[in-house]
Amino acid sequence: MPPVVELQHVTVRYGARTALQDVSATFPTGAVGLLGPNGAGKSTMLRALLGFVPPTEGQMTVLGLDVAKSPLAVRARIGYMQETDGHIPGMNAVSFVAFCGELSGLPRADAMQRAHEVLFYVGLGEARYRNLETYSTGMKQRIKLAQALVHDPELLFLDEPTNGMDPKGREEMLTLIADIARNKGLNVILSSHLLPDVEYTCEHVIVLDKGTVATQGRIEGLKGPGGSLVELRVKGEPAPFFAALAGAGFQVHESDDDVMRVFVPEGHDPQAIFGLASTHRIQVRHFRPSVETLEDVFAKAVGEA
C-alpha cells in the first residue's frame, strides 16, 4: 500500500522561529497518531500539509499529490478538524455542515442530505437545528468532526479532537474516530498530546519533539522491540545506583510517584539490577515485570528520562 502522506526533509519557519526542522516521515494507511508535547510542531505539520504554511525546504505528498503543486486537489480529498473552535456565524448545525459540503464540491441537495447523515453519525442529530453559538464545547468538537466528514474525504486530519471534552464525551469521540478508521475505511491522522487517545485509536505513531521526528512506526513494534521492562521502587541514595544502572546499559525513567521504570535491553538479565543495588547499598522494595506503554515509547523518544 502506498503511503497516505509523505514528507521529505521538510522545514517550516515562522519568521525566525523554526517549527519543523528537516522532517522526513511516512504516514501509512489506517490511523496514524501524530504525537508530541505542546509546541512540538504537530499542528504546523498539518497546516503545512493543508498548504496554509509553505515549507521553506522539502517536499510533501498527500494521497500521491504534491501539496505544493496541487493544494486544492489535496484539500478536496481530505477533511480537516481544526484545533480551535471555528464556525460560520448565524448558522445552525445543518446549514453549517451543508455549507461546508458545498464548499468541498458537493451539489446543494447532496450536501444537505449528507449534513443530516453525518450529524446523526457524530451524535448531534437531535441538536442539528440549534444555532452553533449555543453549542457546548463537546458539541462544538462533534460539529467540527461533522464538517470534516461531510464530503466523504479519503483522509481526515484531526487536530486535538478531544480538547475540552468531559470523560464521557471524550470516550465517545475516540470511539467515533476508531470506527471511522477501522470500519469506514477512511485514513486518519490524529494529532494529539494525549497518549491514551493515540493508543486507543491508532496503529501507527509518529512522535514529534522540538520540530523533529523523534520516532515513528507501529505502536506495537515501538513498544516491544526486544528487552523488557520492570517497575522498581528502592530505598537509599538513588543517584549513584541510577548512574550504575545506566552504565550497565539499563534505561531508568522516573515517574511522578516513587516507582521508576527500568528498560532492560535485549541480552541483559534483569536480575543484574539486584547485584547493582547490593553494591550501592540500595534496598529494592518493589520489583515487578511490566509492559511497555506508549507513554514509555514517548518518554524514550523525547528523552524524558
Binding site: 486544492l72 471555528g86 456565524p89 464548499l103 451539489p107 453519525y121
Partner: protein, 278 residues
C-alpha cells in the same frame, strides 16, 4: 458499545469542479442579507428615487407644461448622486463580511476546503457589489428604457450614446471602491461595528480634510485624498458635465486604482489559513 452508527455512507455522486466555491460563498452571503428585514427594507427604499424619476420622465413626455423636466444627462448623473446615500448604507451593512468570520475563527474552516484565497475574497465581495449595482446600474439603465418607452423614440438615446458606458462605468467604479474598501477594512477587525465606524469615519474624515485643505491652500488637488470627491470627478467626466473640482480624470482614476490596490494588499495579507505573529 457501538455508538452513533446511524448511516455514515460513502458519497457516490459527482462533485462540482474546482474554482466554483466563490459562488457558494456569494450565494450564502446574499441569502444571509436577504433574511435581514432592515437590509431588505433598505434595498426597497433605495428604489423610491427611481419611481420619482419615472414620474418625472412620464410627465415630461406627456405634458408640455412639464417640459422643464425633460430627460437629460443631468437626470442620470443626479439620480446616481442621489443613490449615493443608499450605496453608503448598503456598504456599511456589509461590514461583517470578513470581520464576522474572523470573530468566529472561520477562516481556517473556509481555507481548509478546496478553494483559494481569491475565491474566498471574490465570494465576500460579490454580495455588496451586486447589491450596490442593484440600486445604481440597474435602475439607471431602466430609466433609459422607461424614457424610450414614454417618448416613443430612440432619439435621446442615439444622441447620447455615451450615457450607457457612463452609467456602467460610474456604477461599477462606485461599487468597486466601496466594496473593496469595506471588505478590506472588515478583514482588519473582528468587530463589524468597529469596521462600520472606521469606514464611516474614513469617508467623512477624508471629505472634511479635503475641504479644509482646499480652503487653506486653495488647491483642489486635495480631492485626490477623498474617495467621495474622486468619485464625483469620475462621474462628472463620464457624464460630460463640467466638474466642480479641478482634478484631471487620469489622476482620479489612478487614485481609485491605488485605493483598490491597497485594499487588495490588505486582503492578501489578512486572509490566511494561519495567522503568523512575528
Amino acid at each position: 458499545m457501538p455508538i452513533h452508527d446511524q448511516g455514515y455512507r460513502h458519497y457516490a455522486g459527482r462533485k462540482r469542479p474546482l474554482g466554483t466555491a466563490w459562488w457558494v460563498i456569494a450565494r450564502q452571503q446574499i441569502r444571509t442579507v436577504l433574511t435581514q428585514k432592515r437590509y431588505l427594507a433598505l434595498l426597497l427604499i433605495a428604489w423610491i428615487p427611481f419611481v420619482a424619476r419615472v414620474v418625472q420622465i412620464y410627465l415630461a413626455a406627456n405634458f408640455q407644461q412639464a417640459a422643464f423636466l425633460a430627460t437629460s444627462k443631468e437626470l442620470f448623473r443626479g439620480f446616481l448622486d442621489q443613490q449615493g446615500l443608499f450605496v453608503f448604507l448598503l456598504i456599511v451593512g456589509a461590514s461583517g463580511a470578513i470581520a464576522d468570520d474572523r470573530r468566529a475563527n472561520a477562516l481556517q474552516v473556509y481555507l481548509s476546503k478546496p478553494l483559494t484565497r481569491v475565491e474566498y475574497i471574490a465570494g465576500k465581495l460579490f454580495a455588496p457589489f451586486a447589491f450596490v449595482l442593484s440600486v445604481t446600474l440597474v435602475p439607471a439603465l431602466l430609466l433609459l428604457i422607461v424614457h424610450v418607452a414614454f417618448a416613443g423614440s430612440l432619439t435621446f438615446v442615439t444622441q447620447n450614446l455615451y450615457l450607457l458606458p457612463a452609467i456602467l462605468l460610474y456604477s461599477v467604479v462606485l461599487a468597486l471602491v466601496g466594496t473593496f474598501t469595506m471588505v478590506a477594512l472588515s478583514s482588519l477587525s473582528k468587530s463589524r461595528r468597529f469596521t462600520a465606524l472606521t469606514f464611516t469615519g474614513l469617508f467623512f474624515f477624508t471629505t472634511a480634510m479635503y475641504q479644509a485643505l482646499q480652503r487653506i491652500t486653495g488647491s483642489q488637488l486635495w480631492a485626490l485624498m477623498s474617495p467621495r470627491d474622486l468619485l464625483s470627478v469620475i462621474g462628472d467626466a463620464a457624464f460630460r458635465i463640467p466638474g466642480q473640482r479641478a482634478v484631471p480624470l487620469w489622476a482620479a482614476l489612478i487614485a481609485v486604482m491605488v485605493i483598490i490596490g491597497l485594499s487588495v494588499a490588505v486582503l492578501e495579507k489578512r486572509i490566511r489559513g494561519v495567522e503568523v505573529v512575528k
